[in-house]
Amino acid sequence: MIVARPKSFEDIKKLIQNHKKVAVMGCGGCVTVRSIGGQKQAEELAALIRLWAKREGKEMVVTEVTLTRQCEPEFIDSMKERVGDWEVVVSLACGVGVQCLAERYPRVKVFPGVDTTFMGATIEAGLYWERCVGCGDCTVAETGGFCPVARCAKNLMNGPCGGSQGGHCEVSPETPCVWQLIYERMEELGIGEELDGIRPPKDWSVRPQRMVMEHLRVEKKET
């Protein structure tokens, strides 16, 4: 799931201060699960902006709205009658959602209300950790189910490096050395000797990546 953190209200104020018609747009996807950018947060932010605008004596009309997902054309399209009322949309979706809006509605300014950080997992309530960078060539089958691309600070294919100590990564004592985890898991599974082979350099495919699923495209044409 995509993890994001809210931008500070200071930053958001700077983005919108010279505008009169502002919408705050939540997203019902990942950012809702994390209580960062869902309907509730959109309402809260809109209320905060209204309060601030009033105190500052600014004339500002603030609307809030939440889409089921900001990364799907059908949900974005549902806004087409309303965008004309806005100068600015502060999107609480991840960077993907922000860009979907910006592409679909070129005449409105779309600003991010959150900083998108990573694709990660909930470790415990309030603690999220990066797990995948979407490299386009998943090889965790070779590394005990752990990803060295996303989780090793040096993206090593043949770790661990000389900085692995007591299970921690050299970059931070809070970060587990993923190669220690890989080693332990593979030994436990009785496939430790696979680590003795040399894993080749990674194919860092061309970015941005694009994916086509022909069967879905055909169906769409027919309907």
Binding site: A153, K154, N155, C161, G162, Q165, E170, Y183, I198, P200
Partner: protein, 332 residues
């Protein structure tokens, strides 16, 4: 294996040559193949463009060591390039070991710079993964790590033996470096360290310079594993040593340098030494000489590598007092 990369097919599976053939024309390689106990040292280039600094440091080492490692922006701090500094040493008649990390260059830049290094006369190459930029003076730099040290070794070995680039493109003249790697016997998981060393040797490493040894017992245990696997016969192992300046420095290294094992006995020895910084330094040198003497007893060790970081002037003294003079002549 992904099957996508052309290099995946060839990845590393041929062992490095074990026959004593001189591939590079390097002085260091010749001494090692002749079975001499070698001494190498480290030179950190300046944080500026002053050639004279390199010359001054090189003069301190001249005649006391068989080859000089030139660090590649060690601890991710910007310094004069290792290849440029190595060229200055060559012009002075010293034997450089170029250090190259995967931190700042992708596979294109690595190959390009190393082709140039060979053309400039460098013959020894130490292939490293490198520290994370977070530790240096530009912590926001983008870490490259396109390849790791094992890939770098294998790439250079393939260039030398198959006269091909990583992509398979034929080379117009191949670099024939004497290839080295680093290994940290004190990192975790301990049981995997000698296995990872084996991977480096399979990938192409012919000499190994280890992390600084303070815990000789642990190093000796690691060397036992190295001998059990016969790795000392497939590559020359040089143990890293460095004199400590004070108990404070020892404690700092133990705490802050990942994979640095400084036993408490050494720390308390330095602590007990009264008489200010000079006394501390003298004791540090004393400890280092004792370590060198113990290391020389270990079967299968081919030499020592002195890492007197920003303390190059101590090297002459160490080498002399450890009974390692005179050094064999006849470089080039």
């Amino acid at each position: 294996m992904t099957g996508k990369n052309p290099q995946a097919v060839r990845a590393g599976l041929k062992p490095a040559p074990t026959i004593p053939v001189l591939t590079s024309g390097s002085h260091l390689e010749r001494l090692l193949r002749e079975g001499r106990f070698v001494v190498t040292a480290e030179l950190g280039p300046p944080r500026g463009a002053e050639r004279a600094v390199v010359e001054k440091k090189a003069n301190l080492l001249n005649g006391y060591v068989d080859a000089v490692n030139i660090t590649d922006c060690q601890t991710s701090v910007v310094r004069m390039s290792s290849i440029a500094s190595a060229r200055i040493l060559l012009e002075m008649g010293l034997e450089p070991v170029v250090q190259m990390t995967c931190r700042d260059r992708n596979r294109i830049a690595l190959q390009s710079d190393l082709l140039g290094a060979w053309a400039l006369g460098m013959k020894n190459l130490l292939c490293l993964t490198g520290d994370h930029p977070k530790f240096g003076d530009h912590p926001g730099a983008k870490p490259v790590f396109d390849l790791d040290s094992i890939h770098l070794l294998h790439m250079l070995k393939t260039m030398r033996e198959e006269k091909k680039m990583l992509s398979g493109t034929p080379l117009e003249g191949e670099p024939r470096f004497f290839l080295g790697a680093a290994e940290n016997p004190f990192a975790d998981p301990f049981a995997f360290r000698s296995r990872r060393l084996a991977k480096k040797i399979t990938a192409g490493a012919e000499f190994i310079q280890t992390q600084i040894v303070y815990n000789v017992d642990k190093f000796a245990r690691w060397m036992e594993e190295v001998r059990e696997k016969g790795l000392h016969k497939r590559a020359f192992i040089l143990a890293g040593v460095a004199p400590l300046k004070s108990a404070g420095m020892a404690k700092y290294m133990k705490k802050n340098v990942p994979g640095m094992d400084v036993p408490d006995t050494i720390i308390s020895r330095l602590e007990q030494k009264k008489g200010g910084s000079t006394a501390g330094r003298l004791e540090g040198i004393e400890v280092c000489i004792e370590i060198i003497e113990k290391l020389r007893q270990i079967e299968g060790l081919a030499g020592i590598h002195i890492m007197a970081i920003e303390w190059e002037e101590v090297v002459a003294q160490l080498v002399e007092r450890a009974g390692l003079l005179p050094r064999p002549q006849g470089r080039g």
